[in-house]
Amino acid sequence: MRINWRIVIMVAFFSMFIYTLNAQVNVEIDKKDFNISKNGYKEALAELKSGDTYYIMASSGAYRMALPHYLKAYEYNQNSPQLNYKIGVCYLFSNEKREAATFFKKAYRSEPLVAPDIKYLIGKALQLSDEFDEALQFYKEYKDDLEANAAADKKVKIDDNVIKDINKKIHECNVAKELTKKPIRVFIDNLGPNINSEYPDYGPVISADESMLIFTSRRDDITGKNKKDAIDQQYYEDLYVSYNENKKGWTKALNMRSLNTAEHDASVGLSPDGQILYTYKGYNEGTILESKLKGDNWTSPKELNKYINTKYHETSASISHDGKYLYFVSDRPKDDFGKNSLGGLDIFVSEKTDKGDWGPAQNVGAPINTEYDEEGVFMHPDGITMYFCSKREGSMGGYDIFYSERDENGKWQEPVNIGYPVNTSDDDVFFVVAGNARYAYYSSARDGGYGSQDIYRITFLGPERFMALGTEDNLIASSNTTIEQKVEQEVVEVRKVRLTIMKGTVTDALSREPIEAIIEIVDNEKDELINSLASNSKTGKYLVSLPSGKNYGVAVKADGYLFYSENIEIPDATAYQEVTKDIVLSKVGIGSKIVLKNIFFDYGKETLRETSFPELNRLVTLLESYPNMTIEIGGHTDSHGSLKLNTELSEARAKAVVDYLISKGINAGRLSYKGYAYLQPIATNDTEEGRQQNRRVEFKVVTIK
């Protein structure tokens, strides 16, 4: 049987106390507790036997199957300590974990020695019910009992891991007490019936602009119909997709048939532009695959290379905004550089090689990774924030969601717990954040859903809004005028995302048909290619994430077309914004021309700045691709100044461009230049914006064979 480790991780997070549950198998029902009518006793006994059949299998699915039988038996006798205990255990593995405490407590009150781990489980159940003080009391008593037993009997030795686990639980309760005192302000909204079902729906991944949502569901129309997982007795996982174009609401989720198989198919990551999907399959201890959107078809999922997938568990992955790095989770003991992992599941990173494949994986190390498990890595499109879940110190129970920001030197800062109520005492995993960082998506089994786990959208409202109570006092006795005193609430700093999402479509200038074009993002200052991605061949859509604080050159290229260039200056302080830029490409042909928007000159001079070189080099490449093409470089100015001066300047600048091209090996005979001054404006000269557009360098195709 292929074990789906991701499911194991998701449903059996109680692994640390599984050892204690060994005792539960031996908790037998006492017949005398069921001293009821003959028929009643028979029925109760039958239900108990049915329940036990599943219970002894000790898996989350089996506990779920056992529960209804035990509850039926419970109708006949509500005071059996053993039955209450077993019901408590079953509830702990259900979506109604909060119910467990009542049954455990009842079992304990009836028979304090019902099971050796009863106090621990009461503590756990209370912790999951947010009853932290009481949970602490039971955890401490359990620990005291263990230590007292060991002290009384030298043969009894306590496993260090047991004490460590109890101490961790105690710490979690203390953390939870603090976090619940200061809940963060969020809306947590169910995404509704178009997305969620009565079955488990989880693992949401989104495009940066929230126009596409892909998630995992275990509903009854899956590809491998009627096939259930042996571990949890739920349908196999399938991938589903929904769209939210123009923020009009999510469409009815559709099964991604072309990607789904009869086995488990789960979503783990999506590139910010929604064009690359990472999925998970359970074979080889967990494998991550990649699929690309070509037109409206996803390519067949392809396993990532050996640096990503190993014989160990690889469970989730997230690609950076520039497509250069892949962050993923694995429990491999060493990375490809020989560095030891920190323990359990860790987060690793792989850099894309020049050949376009993923390179050796490196453990991202502390402070991200710890001796505890880290999971569900998500790199935000801002390029500096990593979200992940962890059982580390500082968690309020099980996995909590943390974030860390990378400083200017590339060093990850100490992770911060994202806070309650997003985090709970239960496991909170697989959390993705929209480009704007105001919204995030995750799954939860909270009350009021459609059943089991549902997908929710979190709206981060930020710190408590400023409140000013109006009050007046006669501070100055000689004045009848009262003085307004604002009673202000404390305000904390707001985390801001400094990111621009540029999106739009690339189309043909004449036919308006979408074009699959390559979009290159260049850091003009460093002359460094930041990202290269393709627009969708079917829709022409593209989306790029541009963190603030750079001058970007955007070049859009497609075979047979002149390239299009755009210059985008995004100051460091620029807050999140979405910019729609539809790009029109002109086919290479006589008379076709383009504005070279990333050509920069010194003020009032014809000296080319170095930041112009990436753009000029693109032009060189184009001319090399069309060796028989001759072009004219045209210089243009705004209307400030005399015609004579502007003609001289524009001509000198056009010549400077031509000289650069010649210096790069382009035959001078193919190049001509002309200064047009302000005689061919493309915008008004009455505004600065218009004048800026008019100050330009164009190239025009003169002949082509």
Partner: protein, 385 residues
Amino acid sequence: MKKILVFFMMFFVIFTVFAQENTQKNNQDVDIDTSQIIIPIKIGFDEVTAIADTSSTLVIAEDQKAGVAYNDGVTFFKQSQYDAAIISFSRSIEENPEFFKSYYGRGTAYIKNNDYKNAIDDINKYLTYRPTDGAAYYLKGYAEFYSHDHESAVKSFIQAIEKNYINDANLFYFYGVIEFNKAEYQNAIDKFKEAVKVDPKHAFAYNDMASSYRMLGKYPESIANYQKAIEIDPARAFFYNNLGSAYRLNKEYDLAIQQYEKAVKMDPNYFQAINNIGVTLFEQGKYNEALEAFNEVLSVKSDYAYSFNNIGLCYYVLKDYKSAIDAYNRAIVLNSFYAYAYMHRANAKEMLNDMTGACEDWEKARDLGLEIAEEYLSVCFEFKN
């Protein structure tokens, strides 16, 4: 004998008038005592005497007509008939523009009529004749203070002090008030200390010194000085209100409420004190009780915008956002420039997920000068397009 007696009497009268007029004509600086004019100055809700009431001996001027008119002016002034006093002093000046004490008299009458501009003009004229009169500089500073020309007032007060006019607590008091208004609270405290040094019973100076300490966040000192003000003058409700606020700021909420209640007991219409009770309860997290207090304010002053704002905040923290918005709506109707009410309404709309409405209100609050609203507008990126 009888004839001789009549002759001597006539001679005496003529001689006396001549002698007095001669004295005045030649020695105005000596005989004209500005202290003859009693200047009741408004401080807060009361009046105190700025210049001691000394001899009110009238002057028989050498210039008979100017002198008589001046004396009439003084008489009217003492009878609080300031318009008539101004007419008399003006007549005196018409008779003799050099009769400078009438400028002083008229200036004081203008002050009483709150006509500070004319007052300053007259006192300036007077000072051209008597440039060493510290009291006149004080009066000028006083007029400048009330005409909101605090910069000039400070200069006049400094001149007064330089002319050794240092025994007037009010001079230091007003100087302190100016420093307070400039948010120079430590300087204000220094001046108020001078005031109480001259007049240890100057309750207003203690109150204002307490307010200065309060603004510096020195609440224990603030409390002590408000208490001193109350000790000197226990009949002023606003002293108790202020003391309550100092206690509230010092997070001594029960003591605060006790003082506010004393203020309200003294003046049941003291809506600001009732409002402060609500604020204190709010700060204690007693939102329902605060709500009751703010509603009680409205029974005294139904158009108190602050109270509606505060009611809105109570509903907001009680998560009744619709009621909160209703309350903010009323606050805005009463004061369409109430930036905080717009901001609070936006916050409540946000909680109802009415982001379009929230963004509009944050924008309005920002336009009214609330910088923090600009911060909140950063979430409006998707609602602007």
